[in-house]
Amino acid sequence: MKVYEESGCFDPHSITDCQDLMGLPAATNCHNSSEDNLNLSSYNHHHHEDVSATMDMETHQHYLLDNTTTYNTNAHLIPYLTQELSYDQSNWETFNMVHSSSAAAESAAAASGGGGYTPTPDLLSLFHLPRCSFLPNSSISFETAPGSPPVVYDPLFHLNLPPQPAVFRELLQSLPHDYTVPADDKDAAGVGGLYHDGDNGIIEFTRDISRAGRTKNRDKAGKTTKHFATERERRVHLNDKYQALRTMVPSPTKNDRASIVGDAIDYIKELIRTVHELKILVDKKRCGQDRSKRLKVEDAASAADAGDVDCKPLGDPDRCYNTSLRSSWLQRKSKDSEVDVRIIDDEVTIKLVQRKKINCLLFVSRLLDELQLDLHHVAGGNIGDYYSFLFNTKIYEGSSVYASAIANKLIDVVDRQYAAAPPTSNNSL
């Protein structure tokens, strides 16, 4: 290779020389060469067959940094260098992939400026990583060197790859990095002049997009860190809201977003049912009260007259004209018990599952009496570790107990007894 011959001062087949090369620029750039060596060794591990080629690349770099000569062949390398400068080191993997594909395309297409130099895909990746650490310093040397070509922001575009690079560029721009492109202020025309490939289409393309790329990056360079911070704040706020939603639900299950939302949906539906039920109850109650009041009035009135007591005014039922069937359903779960209460009209069906420890039947039946529920049917017993019962009850006339009250009291009683009972596994009665 042309450049290779000119740099006859080293043996391309020894790794140590390569490292020396790396060390040389380090001297000028106050750079931690050990890092480079580490990187280099990792590369050698992956791409051992390309070591010699690696050295070539590094030779080129060496030359470029010194800025003694500029070759047409090197023109290809410059953009890669500068891209190096702007990207965060943590993203080199993805760049690897992209560059490898672009490099493959390049080696196929670029016969003009090639000068016999055809980098393999691996080479490019090798080429990049060591240079990452050069970032701030090498940019300085770049700008000050005479006759150094202006920097192109994104080297991919001179290959005329269509949509992929655009997406990629946007991705890269939105990624957090504090480095600014060294040649932000360079004129785009200079860039166009770089490529003497004779292919005007490619140059134009490069110029336009590089200009666009640069302005975009210029806008966002200062803002990317702020953007990152606001994004993080936004995420934190959102997570807090999810947690707040979780605390409102009575029996939350899993702690991930989808189940929080699912629980919230069920709870909202339950609350709507409860409110509906309560409204009906209140209406009925009010109706009943009015009617009884009216009856009293009539009684008093008809004490004087005889006989009109039984006749209720027909205008009255309009207000409590309630064909809607009172219905509600809800479930409550606690650590050791589950309660399911369904009410249709005046029939209440209660299902209770409770971890076996105490004789819950006793407490439950006491509670049911308290709640003015008339037991019609009971079925259940001991199943494995649990007691499971089904109660069919009717609400006594005149009582206006509602579903959530039943469920809450039940769970309360059962849990309290469970906690109060001595912790014995066998029933020691």
Partner: protein
């Protein structure tokens, strides 16, 4: 951010196909990456479907983005809770101020009905081997009779393994399999007598 992730994934997938030396490896990675992609997409879809459902439930919506839908849901839940609390308080007040007491009539009827159908009160206790007894009782259905039954059983030290209660025409049939600690054949008679006694006392106090 999620969009970014998916784009990066897809970009990773493409170059691996273009490198001949790594094709085999690349194919496996493709499968894993695409399985992950599918799983991740499914998860995101699940979350967004549920968020949509939540949005449809809440009547007052301010903006249509993820953060505000959660906020709106929170406010709506609080509102509903407040409404239900108010209504239940109102109900409680109305309950306190109203009158009750129609139960007496029901129970008087119960006894009459039983006689009409010819159902007799009865206690039957059978010994099943081990510690188990089978108890069957027919009694007049009254308010709180079930509770008293259970209390008695508890007092006797029985633990219910299966219980079944049905009511018919003012009579209640109670049938239960119980375990006891010191149960043997001799106890059967005693238990029967005890339970009969209890029922009679219950009938004696009609309330």
């Amino acid at each position: 951010m999620e969009f970014l992730g998916s784009e990066l994934n897809e970009l990773c997938m493409r170059p691996s196909r273009g490198r001949p030396g790594r094709r085999r490896h690349g194919n496996n990675d493709d499968n894993f990456v695409s399985k992950n992609l599918h799983a991740e997409r499914k998860r995101r879809k699940k979350l967004s479907d549920r968020l949509l459902a939540l949005r449809s439930l809440v009547p007052i919506i301010t903006n249509m983005n993820k953060a505000t839908i959660i906020e709106d849901a929170i406010t709506y839940i609080q509102e509903l809770k407040k409404t239900s609390d108010d209504l239940s308080e109102e109900l409680l007040e109305m309950e306190a101020s109203s009158e009750g007491g129609k139960q007496m009539e029901m129970e008087a009827d119960a006894a009459a009905e039983m006689e009409k159908c010819g159902i007799k009160e009865e206690v039957k206790v059978t010994y099943i081997d081990g510690n188990t007894l089978l108890i069957k009782i027919i009694l007049q259905k009254k308010r709180g009779c079930f509770t008293r039954l259970i209390e008695t059983m508890d007092y006797l030290g029985f633990e219910h393994s299966e219980t079944s209660v049905t009511t018919f025409k003012g009579a209640m049939l109670f049938s239960s399999c119980v375990h006891g600690k010191f149960v043997d054949a001799l106890m059967v008679e005693q238990t029967e007598l005890l339970l009969l006694e209890m029922i009679r006392t219950m009938n004696g106090n009609t309330c």
